[in-house]
């Protein structure tokens, strides 16, 4: 790849204080406005990759290089919406602006804009407990995009949602990605979701956490339900599933064994 990277992980290793080797020699370059998914068995270090990129925990070895995107234009979305239960929807979305000391009129406009982007107008003064799981996730996404980020780190954001809500939010995220020109690193354990959303699917294996495959999904955007039911989509899913199975077993697939 000759184009400049937005972020680049070089020989990244991470060993936690208790001795767990979460990552070993991870190399990953992500281009500006690229949509990359990380898939892999649980415990293979997907969350750790995001935490290291976000600077939430220190690297043990290697480095993370930043391209022409600014470090403080970064947002993080977690699996559970992680809203503050004592605050209204608009106060939850306001959080990043409040912490940055953004003046009120400007903040109000940004909040209204963010809420309209996730289709939550009219719910400004509702409390999280009044919302369904999907709506909570929308609030969480609104909170992450209110700062107009250029890099979105999403850690299994729709993992806890039902299939219907998940596919609706998938379409919403793709739409936002196309209009907002984000760079996205999206962690999921759902193969279909990864293939549907991404330009690249990176497959990881555990013990130690490492990258075992990097599959480009060559399908045009905007993607829709027609893509979800196309043979191309199926082929990619099978491809990723096979890589994932190998990664999970930690051994070559059956076909290779026969050749030995």
């Amino acid at each position: 790849m000759t184009f400049p990277s937005a972020i680049r992980l070089r020989h990244v290793g991470k060993t936690y204080a208790n001795g767990t080797v979460a990552l070993d020699d991870v190399n990953l370059a992500i281009a500006p406005t690229e949509f990359v998914s990380l898939v892999g068995p649980s415990g293979c270090g997907k969350s750790t990759v995001l935490r290291l990129i976000a600077g939430l925990s220190p690297l043990t070895t290697g480095d993370v290089q930043w391209g022409d995107i600014s470090r403080d234009r970064l947002s993080f979305v977690f699996q559970d919406a992680s809203l503050m239960p004592w605050a209204t929807v608009q106060d939850n979305v306001r959080l990043p602006l409040r912490l940055a000391g953004v003046p009120k009129p400007k903040a109000e406009a940004a909040i209204a804009n963010a809420l309209s982007m996730v289709d939550l107008q009219g719910y400004e003064r509702a409390y999280p407990r009044q919302l369904s799981g999907g709506m909570k996730m929308r609030v969480s996404i609104a909170r992450s995009l209110v700062t107009q980020p250029s890099l979105m780190l999403m850690d299994e954001p729709f993992g806890a949602l039902d299939e219907m809500t998940r596919s609706r939010l998938n379409s919403d995220i793709l739409h936002l990605w196309e209009t907002q020109r984000w760079t996205v690193v999206f962690v999921t354990h759902n193969i279909y979701e990864a293939v549907y959303l991404s330009q690249r699917v990176v497959v990881m294996a555990a013990r130690p956490g490492r990258i075992v495959a990097d599959i480009a999904i060559d399908a045009p955007y905007p993607r829709n339900d027609a893509f979800r039911t196309s043979p191309l989509f199926n082929d990619y899913c099978r491809d990723v599933a096979q890589q994932l199975a190998e990664a999970s077993l930690g051994m070559p697939p059956l076909a290779d064994l026969r050749q030995i």
Binding site: F76, M84, P85, W86, Q130
Partner: protein, 335 residues
């Protein structure tokens, strides 16, 4: 002297049982309805009605009206109410009959009817005493709430502060108040009320410290990360994340401390044994026992217990009111 400690032990036991049994009080429909009434009033003032669904993805939450009267009626006729009431009445009748049939003198065991008439007769003396105790309890409780919160915030600032000071908070808690009360009363010999307040404060303080310290540390892990990500200052994290996260724990601490402050006040009054116009309800219990006015002693005991229950119920309602936005139970959600 022996009698005095016996009564202290009795009181503590009674309060312990009460605290246990009454923990379920907020689940009683009558209180629930009261609380729902106030909280719906409040939320009607603060939260405008949510816009109704204008797209198929939305479900607007709505408050389901409750059949208040019907619910009270079902509750009153449920076995949950009838069983303990029947047992209570049977015990009272049995007690009255036993006392009358065996001709037990009232200075050994008065019948419930005699206790009741004594309560009415001596109301003008007992009630002001109860108010004195309530005042001591309230001051000590508020002092404990504020100082406990402050100490917990200091503890939460650094592991080292907490590690070096927490053991002393435990020591303060485990030292029996009966044993240190005389010392405190000597130190504050010019101001008995102050001495009583300090005793009650010492007892009420610990649950608030330990609960709030735990609450301050229990903030959602992802939110802590989010605050870090947005470069929040220590102060911002405290105000916008740690203190709100600690609120349910703090309120839980308050509910325990309310009862403990009363126990502390009563125990301290026993030890101080002060008379005069400004004597509390414990002094009335003590004097009644010395003078063998046992019916009066029972009446004072009932008042003390009633005060303990009232404190607990008040704090439970306050807690539910403050946490009404956190919990699902206050409002039924359509799905």
């Amino acid at each position: 002297m022996l009698l005095r400690y016996f009564v202290v032990a009795l009181l503590e036991l009674q309060n312990m049982c009460l605290n246990r049994g009454i923990r379920r009080l907020k689940d009683l429909p009558v209180l629930r309805i009261l609380y729902d009434f106030f909280s719906s009033r409040l939320s009607a003032m603060t939260v405008p009605p949510l816009s109704t669904a204008d797209s198929p993805t939305r479900t607007a939450p709505s408050v389901k009206p409750r059949g208040d009267r019907l619910q009270v009626l079902t509750w009153l006729t449920s076995s949950e109410v009838i069983a303990p009431v029947v047992v209570g009445i049977l015990v009272l009748i049995g007690w009255e009959l036993a006392v009358r049939l065996t001709n037990t003198p009232p200075y050994l065991l008065p019948g419930p009817s005699l206790v009741f008439t004594t309560l009415i007769q001596d109301w003008h003396q007992l009630f002001p005493s109860l108010m004195v105790t309530l005042r001591i309890t309230t001051i000590a409780f508020i002092a404990a709430a504020l100082s406990g919160l402050l100490i917990a915030v200091v503890f939460a600032q650094s592991k080292w502060i907490e590690r070096s000071l927490f053991p002393y908070a435990v020591i303060l808690q485990t030292t029996p108040i009966v044993a240190i009360a005389p010392l405190i009363i000597i130190w504050f010999r010019n101001n008995t009320i102050m001495a009583l307040v300090v005793c009650a404060w010492i007892i009420a303080l610990f649950p608030i410290i330990s609960n709030t310290t735990l609450g301050l540390k229990s903030a959602d892990h992802n939110l802590v990360n989010l605050f870090k990500l947005y470069n929040a200052s220590r102060w911002q994290t405290l105000i916008y994340l740690r203190l709100p996260s600690a609120l349910p724990y703090f309120l839980g601490g308050l509910r325990i401390s309310g009862g403990l402050a009363l126990i502390g006040a009563v125990v301290a009054e026993f030890v101080a044994g002060t008379g005069g116009q400004r004597s509390g309800i414990a002094y009335q219990i003590l004097m009644s026992s010395y003078n063998l006015q046992i019916p009066r002693m029972f009446a004072a005991l009932i008042l003390t217990t009633g005060l303990g229950v009232a404190i607990f119920v008040t704090l439970t309602l306050l807690s539910d009111l403050l946490l009404r936005h956190w919990h699902e139970s206050a409002m039924t959600q359509e799905s």
